[in-house]
Symmetry: D2
Subunit: 336 residues, 4 copies
């Protein structure tokens, strides 16, 4: 059974996902499209050669009879509304991060999903599908490293635009690490702290950059993440897990080694979309196959909620300069 | 239009390809299966949950009305016969290497294909679809290395079975390099030489191992390939291109870096199927999409023929200990 | 002019230094030896074949007419006393860390040295002489990285003995980093914080291990150092400098790359003495040549004092769990 | 006992060795200097601040009463004459390569040394003292790789001057590999072959570059060496030993890893003197200490002879394009 997908939001990530569903992945087709800008929706249909209906609203798309699953790739502020509508209509929904802009919004989504009685929501935390991160998780789960004592990580972007302000280093950037470490460690956060260094001369006036985020988990794993969004040299994701029995480093992306002009060098990617292109494919293919099977297994509303709670604590820590607790309620059995 | 595929030969590689067409790739389905062992054909259909007809002979399968394309993954000795039949029936055919067991057989296939007036045959040289090799080719084609002066390469397997004899180091092992270097360099071979070292104690009595194969191309690129099929430690493919303006090394497969027990280490793969798993996917997806578009672009009968001619010279060089010429006819315009 | 050296303390490091002065370095000879255990002093003289006088006390050795310079490699508690005596006697003195066990003791040494009117003291911070660290400092001093924004570092030992207690992670282990970062950055510390992770099962009861030490400098460079003294796998020193214009990593010690048994691996050293063997040679040769030239240039009493002040703040931070200020007086002109 | 050294030839390498003996090494001093250009000899004495006598001829220097050992760093054509004179005078002699410009000349030196009844000659094959090569030899000698089956090597220089002609690729460049492999393998050569690739556009008209030298040893180890003296990008020495039980790669020189401008890179050295600076120190210090002990242990006249014989076969192979035998006489017991 081919999964018939409706796409809400045809910006960059919406079109990329539509393209991969159409050109690369199997067992799904895009049958419905919506965007606040209807011209943009039509243009995407043309570019990809889709046989799809354009709906004037996301709500109408969600309610369309021939839509099995919804892809929410609209502006973050609208995610909660569309996810709630999809749950109400009994549609599977894949929602790009954030699940909602507040922890309360995520809570409302969980409440609706639990009321619906089955998992309908997957959140777009694609790193869980990255080959390198999976090598790391596999060796951890096999016990090769023993207990994870520390994680050292870095999230570096070459530059950010003028509209990027300090809290976005958490909500837009660190959010992926916040989900990834929970998943790697199978643990929740207990506290967060943020330390700013001297600001780089390449950062514009509204963003303090770089910063060091310190997290502690309930089992006592200590995590430090350098967030540096004007590092100039490339898009670079680093992750090292320090365990009782050994240490593992996330692999670098595959690249040629060149010997040229006095250097032995490897290219560093500039574009996060290239870094996680395979992961996006695996993520969406998984969603499609899980929807076929009637049982979602990917990152859940709970995962979206947990990242939001931790993110809120980090932003508070940015402002206070103090160690801030991360207060998580008990995990509902529904999400175990 | 979904491409309907018939599979002749349901051994290991036949089943792996069938699985990827069914589970991973898009735009194709397996509708017909044949094997000398009909039970094995039925068993594969069951394992993969296919809705496919079993044919008693490859010939019958090829002639089935609902077969658009044929996958030849049977015993090498039978390839020529099935490929010729597919051409005759006007079917696209993807043939695992070797295209035929002799250069003459490859020539007969080319003759038939040229008579048919359009490209119907793709040969299973999957390395052309490997991400790392493509990084290498891209940088060469962009002129970053200048003229390629030398290639240093190695093809290492952990062990080989008792039935593996010395000429198989060429026909079964080096064959991939023979195609890859032609493709990387866009050049043909001029001569071949083989030098045997002291034999490893891990080689059984019927195989001289390792050996160093030396090739020269018509433009004067010098290539040395270590073929070592009892290296014990893993499946390891190395390729370094020495150019006028710099040197490039094929990337290692992605792996964790571990610090443990006095070592900083990365795992080396043991299994060639894992090494080229992504390449197999890309290769077959390309074949499917090219068949949809009605124009094959992958490795052609000419490529199969050229590898066979070079392989024959290498085997002759194994026996003679001399530099043996590689005599290639002019490339027909049909294959340009 | 050969520098005639008296050695106070013939334990492991004392004998190693004596050996290198005698067998490897130039322009110095050991003419006097002292130890609380006179038998051990005699035994070292025999093992190294020295033509040296044994003195019953360090004081007597310092006052010997034929001693130009003194090497203090005795128990840390005695360093201050011997260094003060050497200054009083007008002898050059190379003192292994710590210069004194308290910041006050270091202050007394500085006062005496300033009163003497010339630099007589070098402290054994050998990392400043390590080839890798010098590559790092050279590229920083050349401005290649721009302003240093962060340093990520790790100091890992395979195991520590039962007598190693938590504050020793600062005084005996981190002390080298505390000096090294000051030197790399040409800056002083402003604050210190220590965060403990879950304790490794390999640590004995009296040491909390590992820990993450966070330092801030007066110019706002943020430093995190993992101190992990029961990491099991080896002696491993990591240092990454994150600058405005790029990032540099301290090189790994040189080692073979092996392909064997399914792994591509490099050996990790187990012994800190091997890690810094070349640095020890360069350090002591520098001391000898500077003593010949009559002008010490190596790490000074001020450097020993600064490391002690920062170390005290770190130990306080271990106990308080808070961010502790590092209160440094102004640097005397004498030490500029 | 300080070894008193006379230096014949004060060109670049002569002055570098004089400097290291004077400034870095222990237990030797330079007491005598000679050069065809006496002004140059005096100038070096001034630059290094030596207390040394200038002799008008190498012969006179060799016969000076206060000279214990002679360093021959003059023009290659004169080496044989000075080494023979040093043997006659009973002086230890360290001779830069070549020992003599012909195998016959080397034979005459061996005859004289055997007649003298003790080893007086060490040849300047400094790679035997390189840390990386010693790691390689140690692991081979420990049996970790099993029998050595193949060696893949490269010797690359950025550029060569106009006076560098094709045979110099053997006599001046490959000569170091010719000695190194004999030492690593404890074996002698049986045959040599040279294959030229297409010539790089960066080579001037009198040198064919690059070339691939193929060697076989008496035990059947196969060696391929790329000699590429206009590679542009740096001075780069590669060596990989393929053994029955595993493979080992010579380490790269230690360097910073930088992340900058879209690349992760390490600097490649440009200057062979920097590449082997430590090895030169160890080599000469070894010569000095062996001369003190009255028993030379470094590369002998036999090693100089063996490299010359193999080099002659390689040059013959350059010209003939054929596999050329390397005819070595039996090794005299004197050199075992």
């Amino acid at each position: 059974m081919t999964i018939r997908i409706g796409v809400i939001g045809t910006g960059m990530i919406g079109e990329e996902h539509s393209r991969r569903i159409t050109k690369t992945l199997t067992d799904a087709e895009i049958v419905a499209v919506s965007d606040v800008n209807l011209d943009q929706a039509h243009a995407m249909i043309d570019r990809l050669g889709l046989d799809a209906t354009v709906y004037e609203t996301g709500q109408a798309l969600i309610e369309a009879d021939n839509v099995d699953a919804v892809l929410v790739t609209s502006w973050g502020q609208t995610h909660e509304e569309y996810v709630l509508a999809a749950i109400k209509a009994g549609r599977y929904v894949f929602c790009e991060k954030p699940l909602a802009t507040t922890a309360e919004g995520c809570q409302r989504i969980m409440d609706a999903e639990m009321a619906a009685g089955r998992r309908l929501v997957q959140v777009g935390f694609m790193r869980r599908y990255d080959h390198g991160y999976n090598l790391l998780k596999d060796t951890m789960d096999a016990g090769n490293l023993g207990q994870a004592l520390m994680i050292h990580a870095a999230h570096r972007n070459p530059t950010v635009p003028e509209r990027y302000v300090t809290p976005m280093a958490i909500h837009d950037t660190l959010i992926h690490e916040l989900d990834t470490f929970r998943w790697l460690l199978d643990d929740e956060y207990a506290s967060a702290q943020v330390a700013f260094s001297q600001k780089t001369r390449h950062a514009h006036s509204e963003v303090r950059d770089p910063q060091l985020v310190l997290l502690e988990t309930t089992r006592g794993t200590r995590i430090d993440v350098e967030v540096f969004v004007n590092c100039q040299y490339g898009y670079d994701i680093q992750c090292t897990v320090v365990g009782e029995e050994g240490i593992a480093h996330l692999p670098e992306p595959q690249s040629l080694t060149l010997r040229q002009a006095g250097k032995r060098s490897n290219e560093i990617l500039q574009d996060w979309k290239k870094r996680f292109d395979d992961a996006f494919n695996t993520e969406l293919q998984g969603f499609i196959h899980d929807a076929q099977a009637g049982a979602l297994k990917g990152p859940s509303s709970w995962d979206g909620f947990a990242a939001a709670v931790a993110g809120d604590a980090c932003v508070k820590a940015q402002e206070s300069g103090q160690v801030e607790p991360v207060s998580m309620p008990d995990r509902p059995d529904f999400y175990r």
